[in-house]
């Protein structure tokens, strides 16, 4: 039952969602001129007003405050449509996925009543202010300070933030600053606190919009706070509890990148397929050439996996009370961002020279897709996040075994049992994954089980070898994260295909072939990662990588002599 793909309960729910989506889709195809937004570098105010009328600024805000109250699934579905224009999508994300999510998650009733209604209609926009020049991924090292006034009723904010989405046009900011906190023992510490800051408080200046590679329509600028007074009622959560709130906000918005990426890619695949069908070279249509077919199959399979993972995560988020799917959301984000970038590049490649020209939208989609790997947590940080969280879980289980291994003679009988267990190298069918699965997917389910057990072996090996310092071994953490990503994607694909086959949806045999291909390729990647982890630093090249990087840094650049050099003597 692990592979049971969740779903919306009734047909009516799906219909209702589709009815919600349709006008938005029409609006986007007709009224949103992505090309001019990209060239001008600005989203026209009129467009923002119209989007507000459609209710798109309050997708996750409850009905009582004027929003659409979409759950995670609805939000993901809507993200597919808004992804047609990346600048608009990022403006939305900056506003609701992170900007006002803090108020939704951690706000008091008064704060919600005060701010959410205006934010839902798009009258006011929100922004999330965490990044500073000296702290991007390292959120805990921010230097903006909030000092409490003497009467204890106002905080004064001092500092500057950079690269804030909607920074120039927003009225409500979720700002993170360091405050001095005294804990029970009386020690003073600097801890991060979240504040809701209105532009009307004064002392807030935003710089001019940055000129970016992609998502050029989204307003990104510096925001400076000069002694901005913030009443103490505007503290989100507790004073000193800002770090947790920041992590929760960021973790909750990630999964929608899967569906927005899928939406964008579906369009691109459509355009590129049209081209491949009609274009003739060497007296044959492009679609008959194997290399082109390979590209399209990669794109289709990646989109399928992205979609499946995103909706698996979204539907699980809705099915459980207080779910913690931060790792899964991170997996979705990493896979989708890299998949989008690669597939956008491939679809541009199908068109060749035409794809490179600005007359076609491919280059715009490619430029817009590049930011996906960077914002909302860089892919490198998220891989570490995935790996470390999984290791924490694994470590708890293995702690006893580790103690045993360090002192084998203390407890010989347990040691003997452990050795017997470890000696069985090959994975065994114990999980019974195929019980609720469509029979044609037995092989894929067995591959999934097998590789999960191999992952367990790899984790055990690493924990045995490195102990606590595993968190510093980023080469290995990356491989673990990649294995986890592949396994999760396989789970999602297999589950969705099984559901599709059982229900008799259209083109479900196509889904089956896509899942089979995805599992084959994923197993190939899993094999490589597993071998690299098990064979150790000397065999998998990590030692060499470290040495090469060290030399490049010592020489402040490329270190090899030019091929034409000769010695003077």
């Amino acid at each position: 039952e692990m592979l049971l793909f969740p779903e919306l309960d009734k047909y009516e729910d799906v219909e209702h969602l589709n009815e919600l989506i349709a006008p938005v889709e029409r609006f986007f195809t007709e009224n949103v001129d992505s090309q001019s937004i990209d060239i001008e570098g600005e989203i026209p105010k009129e467009l923002i007003r119209q989007l507000g009328e459609l209710g798109l600024f309050g997708q996750q805000i409850p009905h009582e405050y004027g929003g659409l109250e979409l759950d995670a699934t609805g939000y993901a579905r809507m993200a597919e449509v808004t992804a047609m224009d990346a600048s608009v999508a990022v403006t939305f994300a900056g506003h609701q996925a992170i900007g006002l999510k803090g108020i939704l998650i951690a706000g008091t009733r008064e704060q919600k009543e005060k701010y959410l209604p205006k934010l839902a209609t798009g009258e006011q926009l929100a922004a999330f202010c965490l990044t500073e020049p000296s702290s991007g991924s390292d959120a805990a090292s921010i230097q903006t300070r909030a000092t409490l006034s003497e009467d204890g009723k106002t905080f004064h904010l001092n500092g500057g933030k950079i690269w804030i989405t909607n920074g120039g046009i927003a009225d409500v900011f979720t700002v993170f600053a360091k405050t001095e906190v005294t804990d029970e023992q009386g020690n003073r510490e600097d801890k991060m606190t979240a504040f809701i800051v209105e532009r009307a408080f004064g002392g807030i200046t935003s710089g001019k919009p940055e000129d970016k590679l992609g998502i050029r329509g989204s307003n990104t600028c510096e925001v400076h706070f000069d002694n901005t007074p913030v009443p103490i009622e505007n503290v989100l959560g507790e004073v000193g509890g800002g770090f947790k709130i920041a992590m929760n906000i960021l973790n909750s918005g990630r999964f929608s990148m899967g569906s927005s990426g899928a939406g964008m890619l579906k369009k691109l695949i459509g355009f590129a397929a049209e081209h491949a069908i009609s274009r003739t070279q060497f007296k044959e249509k492009l679609m008959n050439f194997g290399l082109i077919q390979e590209k399209f199959s990669t794109m289709a399979v990646t989109t399928y996996a992205m979609e499946s993972m995103a909706y698996l995560t979204a539907l699980n988020l809705d099915s459980y009370v207080e779910p913690d799917l931060s790792v899964e959301a991170a997996i979705v984000k990493v896979f989708s961002s890299e998949g989008c970038w690669n597939c956008a590049s491939e679809s541009l490649q199908v068109l060749g020279g035409l794809g490179y020209m600005k007359t076609y939208p491919y280059e715009r989609y490619l430029r817009d897709a590049r930011i996906l790997m960077i914002f909302e947590g860089t892919n490198e940080i998220l891989r570490l996040f995935i790996a470390m969280n999984c290791l924490k879980y694994a470590g708890k289980e293995l702690k006893e075994f580790q103690k045993l291994l360090r002192n084998p003679l203390k407890n010989p009988s347990a040691m003997f049992l452990f050795m017997r267990k470890m000696s069985s190298r090959k994975p065994k069918k114990v999980m019974h994954l195929n019980e609720e699965l469509h029979p044609t997917l037995q092989h894929e389910a067995w591959m999934l089980e097998q590789w999960t057990q191999y992952l367990e072996k790899a984790v055990q090996k690493l924990l045995r070898q490195y102990g606590n310092s595993i968190i510093d071994e980023q080469f290995h953490l990356k491989r673990l994260a990649d294995m986890a990503i592949d396994l999760y994607a396989m789970t999602a694909c297999i589950g969705r295909t099984s559901r599709s086959l059982c229900m008799g949806l259209k083109n479900n045999d196509h889904e089956k072939t896509m899942t089979q291909l995805f599992c084959k390729e994923a197993v190939h990647r899993l094999e490589n990662n597993f071998e690299a982890i098990m064979s150790g630093d000397q065999s998998n090249g990590d030692d060499l990588r470290r040495q090469i990087a060290e030399k490049v840094f010592t020489e402040h650049g490329y270190a090899a002599s030019h091929p034409l050099t000769k010695n003077k003597f």
Partner: protein, 431 residues
Amino acid sequence: MFLSRINRSKLLKYLVTISSISKSKHPHCGIGSEHLQVSNNLRCNNFSLSSCVLEQNNSKAMFQEYYTAVLTEVHSNERLKAVTNFQHLSDPILKERALKKWIFIEAVNAYLAKNGENRRGYVEFIYDALEQMKPLEVHRDLDCYKALISIFPKGMMIPQNVWQHAFSHYPKQQDCMVEILEQLEHFGVIPDTKVQDAIEEIFGTMNNPMRKYRRIYYMTRKFQNRNPYKLPYDLPVDPIQLAVLALRKMAVDLENELKVWKVSRDENSKEKLFIASAQSPLQREMIHTHPESKPIYVEGGYRVWLRDIPQTYFVMRTDTDPSIFVRPTEEEELENLFDFDTIFDSEKPKQLALKPNVHQQEEGTILGMCITETSCKDSLISWIRCLQEANPRLESIPIVFSLATPSKQALVLRSEGMQPSQQSTNSPDPS
């Protein structure tokens, strides 16, 4: 041990003669430089006794005679003075070196011109010249070595029959050539193929000097780039550039910044003395967070060598908190095993807190280095003042000087003639 006294002394004599013969046959295998240092005085590597007798004559003064002769010529003759002016060189030290090289080569030419084909005792001449190369500072100049090689007569020493090939033909001359090559290798000069041609013309293709040459040629060329702190072939004359080279060699931090200040000794004098200082942003940060109660020590008079030129450097140091070097014991580690507190869980995870950075050593944390023109205490005070620009905290932190300079420094007296440079005796001068 079981040998009687007489037998032991005979054995020792036997061993000495064996070693001297073996040295003479293969004087260039392996031992190299120490051998040269030792044999400079001993001259034990000659095969026949007659050469040893010769040494006790004044033949040692042969090259020196020629050199002084040419030198006086240069000083007196106007035309020669114009030739040796070397206007394209601006620095007087460089001019002096060029002059010495010119005189050296002219002395060799004078010897050749005077003695024509009948050059008796040219081996002694060459040995003397080799000894004089270091004092004259031409020991790294390949042209001078080539000039010495050209003294050997060409063609007559090539072996003609099997017996001459088997036994070292003209062994004293071959040894002399090997000595030239040995000195060349010792001072790190890389020969070129012209030297090989010369040796071939003189001794033929299969002989000791050729073997020595080929080994030098192969090895030095292979290893010429292996030194990660490679210095330029001709070290600069400007003391500021030397100081910069030394500091760059010593600085470990990749972000290290070198600054050179020119400071006047006191208000009156116009003369500006340089201070070269190395500090990185990390060190500046450490000074910024340094508590005012702990002093910073300026320790000094350490010596670093740039090939054969010493530089005196001073270090600004403070005591390191020993707790950052404490590793958790095995029990503690087992208790906290896999209790990961990562950057995603809390603002200040425990694991990240305590890694010592590259400047923090157990003996102390290095906060800056400098080389000054005069390594005296006043210059260090000026250094601290110059640093206060970028490190304002230095004004409030107490600074303790504990210097032990290698005294009045190696003053190199440049005198005309052949006297080697004098060095005053080193007496530590704690101030």
